[in-house]
């Protein structure tokens, strides 16, 4: 076997040097083409992208050519009978040749680092990142396995090359179809990423190649054809079933270890929008603490603390069935997830093992992945701040990008951020620019942090800079309209103080905007005082009312009334504001002890206050009373408020986090929903 390996390596070693020269040529050409970009490369991901192209192109070509001839050239030149006449089993010959092909690929990949590092010295320092590139490693492995298979089947190198290219195209197309049909049902988008799908096919192709070579004829007979096709199908089935079995087992194993549930989002009924939708609840299973936490206006961000969640489960609250189950990785990648308000779609931003961000959108009715599942490098950077429009027909998210550009005749790297508005199928409708920065031209600090939220009409959205400048953007044409900017009425800022506004909420009727902010010095010192304000601004910006100077912990609109929870030293009070008033008035005061978790508006206009020890109801006249049913006096002891469903029931989880239940606040009846 060693002799065969050495012979193969010697036979093809020229290709390594050809690959070396090829990579040198590609590196130089690529460098010449993008030298301004290359000069600005600082980020390792950019470095990888640059080197990745060279490595993938060159190694791919070397692997394709060297592997294509491994077996077919022996047939073409008539040396195959001589080789097979040796006292070495066919399996060993296949193995020796395969290893030699792999060694050639690795040699060429290592060798081509040299010319690449000449034009880009940083690569030597960051060389280990090349190995982490899944596209390259798995791409080369996949190419190798497909070519090896074709080489054992076909007799001419040109046939092998041709069929390999066709098969790659078929696999790519098949993968696209597969992703959209099977992957969402199995509920694991990452498994069916191209790279991972390729890895799944690698053993199938290798097994088929081995089987065809070991059992096949010398010549291309019909029997050999049948054997090749049969063994490939069997290989795919065997590997597929094995992977599926392993995944199912792991899934069951993980499910059996469910210890805690954390709610991620509750949508449809909770949104209480005009659009009637399917009520869905997404949960992180076995997670404590929650993998996602609400980040004021920017959707969901990953929660702090140890990350142990294993699955993300979307539950249909009507039936209690799982609409979608997405296994989560152990890395802190999964960062945002949210269902559309109509409960039709489910979107998730996740981070792959290799740091790439991806956006996946599922149709919960068909359980099909309608967008994504693959790394979305086209965004060029971070994506976050997922938020559905009120009707669920648009999805908006922040995109932080980096792009090469020319400024004053030289290459620079431009950082920027935009809001991308897209359809649920992933088509980008509009890009709303927020800011762009170059080393020479940086925007002011306020511009970097922009809060935004959808207007209730679902066709425009509001953005607010930290200094309080509010714009309204129309999705259809991106036109921006100025709404409001400081000064804050009735407040004169002391010298050296600046406004930091960090929350923007729109009333359900779209007539009012609520913003909360603090005024502080920069930098903050011990003597600095924070001035808190809550403002209500008319949507045309014509009127701004300072409704509170206290810290409001929770805000909720109920019809055209706004309820706020305000803390004082000894008590917690609920205030209400409605149009026409120039400040929020107290409607109820509670001792601090109830440790209010959440306030929520009910359909009849009353307000539900869910405390740890007792739940209260504030009626439309502002009267505060504990919930009537005696059972409700105990239930809040045991259940953590998550939201309200379309029937006005409280969706809550028990304090141990092992079950989700719906609680009828009028009767106190408790219905277990999950698991």
């Amino acid at each position: 076997m060693r002799s065969v390996f050495a012979k193969e390596f010697r036979q093809n070693h020229l290709l390594v040097w050809v690959g070396f020269l090829l990579s040198a040529a590609i590196a130089v050409l690529y460098w010449a083409w993008t030298r301004n970009y290359v000069k600005t490369i600082q980020d390792e991901r950019d470095l990888n992208a640059f080197c990745g192209i060279i490595v993938l192109l060159t190694t791919g070509v070397v692997v394709l050519v060297s592997t294509a001839g491994l077996f077919s050239i022996e047939t073409t030149r008539g040396t195959l009978p001589f080789l097979l006449g040796l006292p070495v089993s066919r399996a060993r010959i296949w193995l020796a040749k395969g290893l030699a092909g792999l060694a050639i690929a690795i040699s060429s990949a290592l060798l081509l680092i040299v010319p690449t590092s000449l034009v880009l010295p940083q690569i030597v320092k960051e060389i280990h990142f090349l190995l982490y590139l899944p596209d390259i490693v798995t791409g080369v492995l996949f190419l190798f396995s497909v070519t090896l298979f074709c080489s054992t089947v076909f007799q001419r190198v040109i046939s092998v090359l041709l069929v390999t290219v066709i098969m790659l195209a078929v696999v790519l197309i098949g993968e696209a179809l597969f992703l959209n049909s099977v992957a969402p049902i199995l509920g694991y988008d990452d498994l069916f990423d191209f790279t991972l799908l390729s890895l799944f096919l690698v053993p199938a192709f290798l097994l088929a190649s081995l089987f065809t070579f070991s059992r096949g004829e010398l010549l291309m007979t019909r029997r050999k054809w049948g054997l090749a096709v049969f063994s490939l199908l069997v290989g795919i089935l065997v590997v597929g079933f094995a992977l599926y079995g392993v995944r199912s087992w792991m899934y069951r194993y993980q499910r059996s270890g469910v210890k805690a549930l954390e709610a991620i989002s509750l949508h449809g009924p909770f949104a209480r929008s005009a659009v009637g939708g399917e009520p869905v609840l997404s949960l992180a299973v076995a997670g404590s603490p929650a993998p996602f936490q609400r980040d004021t206006d920017h959707g969901w961000v990953r929660g702090g603390g140890p990350y142990r969640s294993r699955h993300l489960v979307v539950i249909d609250l009507k039936t209690g069935r799982e609409a979608l189950v997405l296994p989560l990785r152990k890395n802190p990648g999964e960062r945002e997830a949210d269902a559309s308000p109509d409960g039709r779609f489910y979107a998730q931003i996740s981070q792959g093992v290799f740091g790439e961000r991806r956006l996946s959108i599922w149709d919960l009715r068909s359980r099909r992945l309608v967008h994504g599942g693959m790394p979305k490098r086209l965004y060029g950077g971070e994506i976050y701040g997922l938020d559905w429009s009120p009707k669920g027909d648009f999805l908006a998210l922040n995109v932080h990008y980096r792009r090469p550009a020319r400024a004053n005749g030289r290459g620079v790297m431009v950082d920027g951020e935009s809001i991308y508005v897209m359809r649920p199928n992933g088509d980008v409708v509009k890009q709303i620019p927020l800011w762009e920065a170059t080393p020479e031209r940086e925007p002011d600090v306020y511009s970097y942090f922009v809060r935004w939220t959808w207007a209730p009409d679902g066709i425009s959205l509001y953005t607010m800079r930290l200094d309080g400048h509010i714009l309204r953007h129309r999705v259809s044409d991106g036109e921006a309209q100025k709404v409001w900017q400081p000064p804050v009425p009735d407040v004169s800022l002391p010298k050296g103080y600046f406004w930091w506004f960090n929350q923007l909420i729109v009333s359900p009727d779209g007539r009012w905007l609520v913003i909360r902010g603090v005024a502080r010095t920069r930098p903050q010192t011990e003597s600095s005082k924070n001035l808190s304000v809550t403002l209500v601004i008319s949507s045309d910006g014509s009127r701004a009312v300072l409704i509170s100077r206290d810290i409001a912990t929770d805000l909720v609109w109920s019809g055209d009334r706004l309820f706020l929870t305000l803390f004082s030293r000894s008590s917690l009070s609920v205030h209400r504001w409605q149009p026409g008033e120039d400040r929020a008035v107290p409607v109820a005061t509670l001792p601090l002890n109830p440790a209010i978790q959440k306030i929520a508006s009910l359909e009849d206009g009353s307000l539900l206050i869910w405390g740890q020890k007792q739940a209260y109801l504030v009626d439309q006249r502002g009267k505060l009373a504990p919930l009537a049913d005696p059972r409700m006096r105990n239930l809040p002891h045991d259940y953590w408020f998550l939201g309200l469903d379309s029937e006005g029931r409280v969706i809550a989880k028990n304090l141990r986090g092992t079950e989700i239940a719906a609680i009828d606040i009028k009767t106190g009846q408790l219905t277990k929903l999950y698991p």
Binding site: R2, S3, V4, A6, K7, Q11, R77, G78, T79, P81, F82, L84, G85, L86, P87, V88, S89, E217, L218, T221, R222
Partner: protein, 321 residues
Amino acid sequence: MSDHGIRSEAVTENYAVVTHTLTRRFGRKLALDSVSARVSVGSIYGLMGPNGAGKTTFIRCLLNLINPTSGSGTVLGHDMVRDSVAVRRRIGHVAALQPLWEWMTVRELANFMAGCYPRWDQEAVKAVLSPVGIDPNDKIEELSRGQRTLAALAVAIGHQPELLLLDEALTGLDPISRREVLRNVIDVMHAENRTVLITGQDIADMERICDHVGFLIKGKLFWESTLDDLKARVKRIRIEHPSGPQPQVPVNALRVERAARETEFTVTDFTRDLVESLAAQGRRVEMLDLSLEDIFVDLASASGGLSAAGPSANAPMKVSA
């Protein structure tokens, strides 16, 4: 072990190759048709047959380069399918105009082969290469066709094979090289009681070197015996009949040629009794010895192996050795 098994083992001890109804189809074409052959240990077995008779297929089956459609066989006591690696470890094989890796030198080829076998005798390789003037440092691509065959032959015997399969290997060799091969390879193997199975079209050579022969025609083994036995049993008989009626010839006579005054035919089961019975009819009977080539032509013609027609009614019966 069954009685049959014991007999089989006993049989294989004396034979380097034993096949049982070995059959191989290529689609509709029947390349080997129930071939049951036996090659005695230490013999030089010439497998003859016209083009397309199935000789190469037979050898490839022995090497397990192709699987038989049905039937079985043992080579040097090993099952030729199940123990093919063990078989190939003990045999050498050279095919007609053997293609080799042209980028190698002869030395590299020998080293490559040496790495594939547990033992290697470089002197045996030199013994073939030196007399014909092949330098081990010569590249294969620089060698003539005949020299390539010699190089292939040289490396095929480096591991001292107990059975050497020469598939038309002498084709293309000049007389001097052929003589060297015969002297340095085949004679040596024969002297060491090793076996050679050789196929080829040069029947004169075969007649000179083989002690056993088999005729493979259209995939069927029509004859298999020692060369002496073949020559003893296949005879040409001429009967003169100046005026009398045409003599009656045996029903299984081959290539019957009738002339006005004499009739000639070939018999495959010649015995003195046959001559005597023919002579008893009062005619002059002459028995003619046939060369191997004549026998080959007669057998092949009779079996339809040299024509588009099928086997004649008088095709010879297979004779077991």
